[in-house]
Symmetry: D2
Subunit: 369 residues, 4 copies
């Protein structure tokens, strides 16, 4: 725990409901400062706005730039005990230079050189990987080797030991998502080191977790309990792709299923509860038909989107970007988001929505585009 | 939304797992800064500690000082539209001068002069009042007047219109608790103004909510649904006191019920679910026998304690204070807490525990004192 | 397990969808009988009616008659091991002479002579007592003595050891309610004997369970878990009466709360969940103003009503009765029920509604009277 | 509602706890009979046994016999309005000739001739189909055509309109499972006719429900709510087979997953909750290695097993049978069950376990075989 003591510094303010700036008031405020007190009446506008005014800003990070810097890090920065991971995090421009994509979410590019290992550890932070390109790395989660391939969504729920190793002769990069900022802010981080290298270096196509759990609507009778996080270690692209294609085909045949016209979407879910994959993180894959556009939607809570395939335009509030494969956009709470597809456009999305739903604080507003 | 853009400023660091501080590395870090990126390997120790190291610090605020400054505010600061409330918040010395008792919890003394009104508004932030002394104010929650008296615990769950008015010829002060910091950090604040004055100025002993809901184990058949927050507007001291006394009497007769030897505790609960009174806030009343002492306990999540009656000593980590009626102590996440009673000691406690329980991140460690 | 084998006996039937009654058909039906088979097409009308057509019938039992027979049993029938209880059950006239008030519910008058004991046992069947008159008996539930007095509703959830003893010089009778028929039909009965006499013969006013749990909205911090059945051993008349009076007073002042005009109702609930007191049994107390009348209501599932105080008329389908203190009425599934109060009328009701709610099979239909 | 009134007929009994058989006692019992009352003390042994003693008996029905009688019914009995279905139900020999496989479960062989239709209706009873052989029929559930093929498990949750039509030139038979006896006993049946023929006669390989829902761990974002019953209309044999094979492969490689040594088992589940497919019915597929044997297991609640493939021996209590493809065994509550595989043995099982789990009355006892 840091020993730093922060002083309180109060400004006398003008405006409706503010007291007269008399010498007595100044003296009162000095008393507040001395006793580590802050009046509500000077702060309420910022603290309790009529709708969310997050400090975080919408921002676009280009995959090409990320990848270039990650490759350079691959040359200069070792992976090992202490630093633990060669991961480079998005720092939201509204959050003071902290490595936070949003106030609750961490998003980083992680990079492994050929034949390289990332050491084993575990932590209460929930993590996933999403692979926008490449293959050859296995992440080993509580001893179960999980192959990583383009389009796959892979889970490392909190407090599971995990390390990675690259079995290929080519480097590999992917997206890491975690709830590090939320855990840090709320003071709930626990962390433990494991071995320097993963023990099981086998390279199966499917993890043991998938063999037990990734059959549609089927669960092993030996494990009847609800689990906090999904036991499916890997959600494979072939299933995700088929589910999205099925939604668009159903729509074409006049049947319900898509989220809105021309917009298919699936949520990765925990088969033991039907809920989100992890307690703090929602993850989804979206597909827009070429030329289609989403409604404008705002939602309590923040999200990060990554283009998986195709091109289009993403608008958040007043800002708008052309996006291409791998590009990442941070969407702060309650910012209106619209997505327009140039080509058919596939996007991965993760958000902190489960936090708000579990705390009964979720709100959504959708305007037809 | 603020337009401020925060620069990223990276330091090359020393230590295990850190890359060599070559000119190339410096150049790489300049690239990170330019692209709003932060490497994990320089930050992981702070971001993901082996156990929580909150920025917030334990701290004691003396009620006598708070009350003196509140009285002076009563002379200098009006209550009305804009400032909304004459409330003065505890500012944790580790949190940069912000009006946060902990990273998630707001605690303030609120003060109303005789015959004064606090105007009506509503907000998504959940609120309660706890009365350490005095009476004469009614808080009117969605049109239902709720008397406030010493020992009472009163609810204003999120998004209910509420205003207060003092019907007495004496001023009144009380403790306000809210989840303002949590809501602010996560960007989920909505706020609306209501009328300048409460409409129903009647002064019943019991609120309508109590008449419907504050009968032990009984609920109106007309309202069978589970409610997000407790419908009991006021938990009266006479019931709380009796429940604590019953626990100690049971213990004296050799029966279970107390939390630990000599330590009775009741939790204010939502009778429609059995859970906490509000989604983000837990509230409890504790009673220690004279001369008794609690075990040392640490818990994920933060809390604020207020002495309701009696005297004793509170120790948090390395710090320890003599405490008296009304004194307030902030306990950051995972800090070990021990309470020792001089006289019989009654304490009110509120915490953010429901957040962690609902997100499956709660942990507790108890050491016999 | 009984060794009785029941033959299948099939009738060739007439009507729409029925096959021609040829000799070949007769031969086919003999084949069915031989192989223990029954065709759907002859049975579907009875098995799957368009709305429930229960075999159980509505019926009224007069308390005066019950009490007379119970008193006579007090003279002729001992209470002890083997017979276990001097309880006399309502046998619904549609259920073949079985001691079932409805297909799921047992209702009986139980009777103890002065200074008499009912031996200790436990069973998976859930039980309660409701006291329409008298006092002097303590039921001892898992060692906790619980006084029984007029108006009290007392719980013995499944698998708790319990015995009763009469400390008075007068006999005492009360209503027992259990889910015996449901448990019998579904084959889920477990039963164990305990001591012949209760161990703790103390006669406290309040049970230990009440001292821990019967404080409005308060629960002991030492027992944070949800419990299958309510931990409140006794719901006292003074609280029930006050809650009903409060609802009628609120109505008189123009506020919501009553179930319908002139009709107050409270449900006994489990403070650890907000749900029903036991998994299979709902219990409520109703109060109608003098001269008032309920809407006509039908509900999936069956119920038993007992008049606690006052007089009135109860109509179930085509049948109608004048009712007085203690009288009992069985209401089969989906039978329309209307209650009209002569004097102010208090009624106790118990039903199997939780079974249907937990199985998502509940339906209610209300017609204004 | 039947107008039949059942008389009560009481026997004076001998034994511990029974009163002396005096003339006064006989007179008392006549009084009980007259008032429709039954004493507990004569009935308690039967009503509340120390462990379940169900009236239902274990029994084996041979598929070959069922199929022969179904084929003959195909010649003699039309399918149409009124009779509704050509279904022939198992009548448990302990249940008085009623068409109940167990006190809660219905099991029948249903049979459709080439090009035949079963008319559309809906009912609150929950239904499934399991196909032990054949194909060519589509069941159309709320307008969605669902192909039926060997090994498939198909759902018709309560209150969905459904009809069947055979598109093939060959007849088809399958197993129907419903909760008819439970619904009948508890008086909760609602039933409505639909059109005489299904409207959508298309013959897709996969239903629309499958295209939306049968992707492992993925759910459509457009339907975020929990559903009472599983939205997966068909659980296809290829997935079930693969999941069972995966479990046995994992076991062979030394990893957990099987239910017990040599015994793989998957439960069909509701992807929106992780729970059972329907509120009253559990369904599973089991696979035993050739020569393997299950532990002996008893469970509160009843089940029906059908051999899907292979041969073996099934023992229930004192009875034992050689079983072959299609054979059906009813297992009453708490009867010890052991299964031994001759060849590799695949079995389908359905039970009423969800009823007991939802009512907190489930119990299981497993003895190593």
């Amino acid at each position: 725990m840091t020993a730093t003591v922060s002083p309180v510094t109060l400004q006398v303010k003008d405006g409706p409901g503010q007291p007269d700036p008399t010498p007595e008031l100044h003296e009162l405020y000095r008393g507040f400062e001395q006793e580590l007190l802050v009046p509500l009446w000077t702060e309420i506008g910022d603290l309790m706005p009529s709708s969310p005014r997050p400090a975080a800003r919408s921002h676009l990070w280009r995959w090409a730039k990320l990848l270039g810097l990650a490759q350079r890090s691959g040359e200069l920065v070792p992976v090992g005990r202490g630093g633990e991971r060669r991961a480079i995090a998005l720092a939201n421009p509204g959050l003071g230079g902290a490595p936070y994509a949003t106030p609750t979410l961490w998003a980083a590019i992680q990079y492994l050189n050929p034949r390289e290992d990332a050491p084993v550890h575990r932590h209460t932070q929930h993590a996933f990987r999403f692979v926008v390109e490449g293959e050859g790395v296995w992440t080993v989660v509580d001893g179960d080797p999980v192959a990583m391939r383009r389009g796959d969504f892979l889970l490392t729920p909190g407090w599971r030991f995990h390390g990675h190793h690259n079995q290929a002769d080519t480097p590999m990069a992917w997206l890491d998502g975690l709830d590090i900022p939320f855990v840090h802010h709320t003071g709930s981080s626990f962390f433990e080191l494991g071995p320097d290298k993963v023990a099981d270096r086998s390279t199966p196509d499917r993890s043991r977790a998938e063999r037990l759990w990734a059959h549609p609507g089927l669960r092993p009778v030996s494990q009847p309990e609800a689990q906090t996080s999904s036991p499916i270690a890997a959600y494979r692209w072939e299933h995700t792709d088929a589910a999205l294609a099925d939604q668009l085909d159903l729509e074409a045949a006049g049947h319900p299923g898509v989220l809105e016209p021309g917009h298919a979407a699936v949520r990765f879910s925990n088969p033991t509860t039907g809920g989100d994959v992890m307690p703090t993180i929602r993850a989804e894959m979206h597909r827009l038909r070429a030329g289609g556009s989403s409604a404008t939607r705002r939602e309590v809570g923040s999200a990060v989107w990554q283009v998986f395939d195709g091109t289009g335009r993403v608008r958040v509030g007043e800002r708008e970007w052309e996006v291409d494969r791998g590009d990442l956009v941070a969407v702060p709470s309650w910012q209106p988001l619209t997505i327009a597809a140039g080509s058919q456009l596939d996007l991965f999305r993760f958000s902190d929505s489960p936090i708000f739903e579990r705390l009964n604080a979720d709100r959504v507003q959708v305007d037809a585009s």
